[in-house]
Symmetry: C2
Subunit: 256 residues, 2 copies
Amino acid sequence: MTEKPLLLLSNDDGFDSKGLKELIETLRPMADLIVVAPSGPRSGSSGAITSQVPLRCSLVSEEPGVTVYKCSGTPVDCVKLALNSFVPRMPDMVIGGINHGDNSSVNVHYSGTMGVVIEGCLKGIPSVGFSLCNHAPDADFSATLPYVRRIVANVLAEGLPVGVCLNVNFPDVPDLKGVKVCRQTDGVWASEFAERKHPHGDVYYWMTGVYVNNEPDAPDTDHWALDHGYVAITPTQIDMTAYGQLKRINDWNWNL
Amino acid sequence: MTEKPLLLLSNDDGFDSKGLKELIETLRPMADLIVVAPSGPRSGSSGAITSQVPLRCSLVSEEPGVTVYKCSGTPVDCVKLALNSFVPRMPDMVIGGINHGDNSSVNVHYSGTMGVVIEGCLKGIPSVGFSLCNHAPDADFSATLPYVRRIVANVLAEGLPVGVCLNVNFPDVPDLKGVKVCRQTDGVWASEFAERKHPHGDVYYWMTGVYVNNEPDAPDTDHWALDHGYVAITPTQIDMTAYGQLKRINDWNWNL
């Protein structure tokens, strides 16, 4: 009897979010699943880890092929704790999502979903993040699911090079036009805060913001793909070295 | 009269940490400083942002050339809020640190100090993070300071390409041998949790861990430089695209 692949799932929207539940349902025929997800919403967690307070984790449900834990920490904490203490063997993949919201372009740096994926990748496991460009708690993920299955099947069959993971984003449209393998768009968040005044007089700030695409006409970018109805697959690497700058900076004046 | 450069400083150890205070004192003769730092420790914050609770910020001190605010959010929140609401003009540099602890190798993905730096870089500002390989609150930063001034002077004079920042790490030794411009070491954290039992019986976990260097003999890596007494300068880019994989992944079977 062939063992099914084992997939470790997490996210940043919490163990009871719709996107994670749909991910579980669409993948359970293909694989054994272990889910270790935050106990509540952790959007914007990036690669944050928790070292100053203890972490707690509890079993939510255990069905044949699907075991779910919730954990008090960040998305990255969940992956670390799962690999350290909860997986029965090394997973064949780590999967983040399906996120409620866009993680393309520079959002890779803020995304808890991609925190999950980068952590899996740092541990040498093929890792993929899935995100839908719709923040609503009841977003409709149905168009994404055949692509999720195809992408997971491809990664299980083909593998990924060590140090490379996938950041997959879906436009919020019912009819997806297919897949584009893209680069990370050059963009930036602007106008990021709304100022409010408390009844007692002190000022506070809500993070908000407008995303500005610095290259809206570049068809090789992930944001272009999303704008044009394609699934954007951005191969993402954990080595952030700017190799092109090593020599130039070495040539600066280093006399103290 | 020539205007002094304006530097925006933040960190992840909090506004009253020794490393930040020493950074301020060593840079104030060179520049006007605006400091917007977390109100307390935020180690391991990575690029995390706060959108679900409001942020508060208050003036700590205002002296000629040095204005200090503390902020309730993450290191990245501090940079965003500073640029949105507190800087008198666009800063010439964003600087994170001096961190109490090593941010070389894969730690770039967890580091709140590098969260500060990557955020500055995302905003198009030359940005540098400084970290000392010593976690102690009373760590001795004195050997690092001439290098901090040299690196800041170099970046002000030479600039950095858009999308590239510097991750600078100092070994915890009194006599630094000079500078090495390096790449990010391939390493991984292992044995990451210590399990404890509460008097009432439930299990909890402390994050801990052992860093494993997968290439200890590679002299072009940042960890090698640190191990051999050099200041490690790792040029770091915000474009995480794995360009070498675009074609290969595009050639996978994409039929649903």
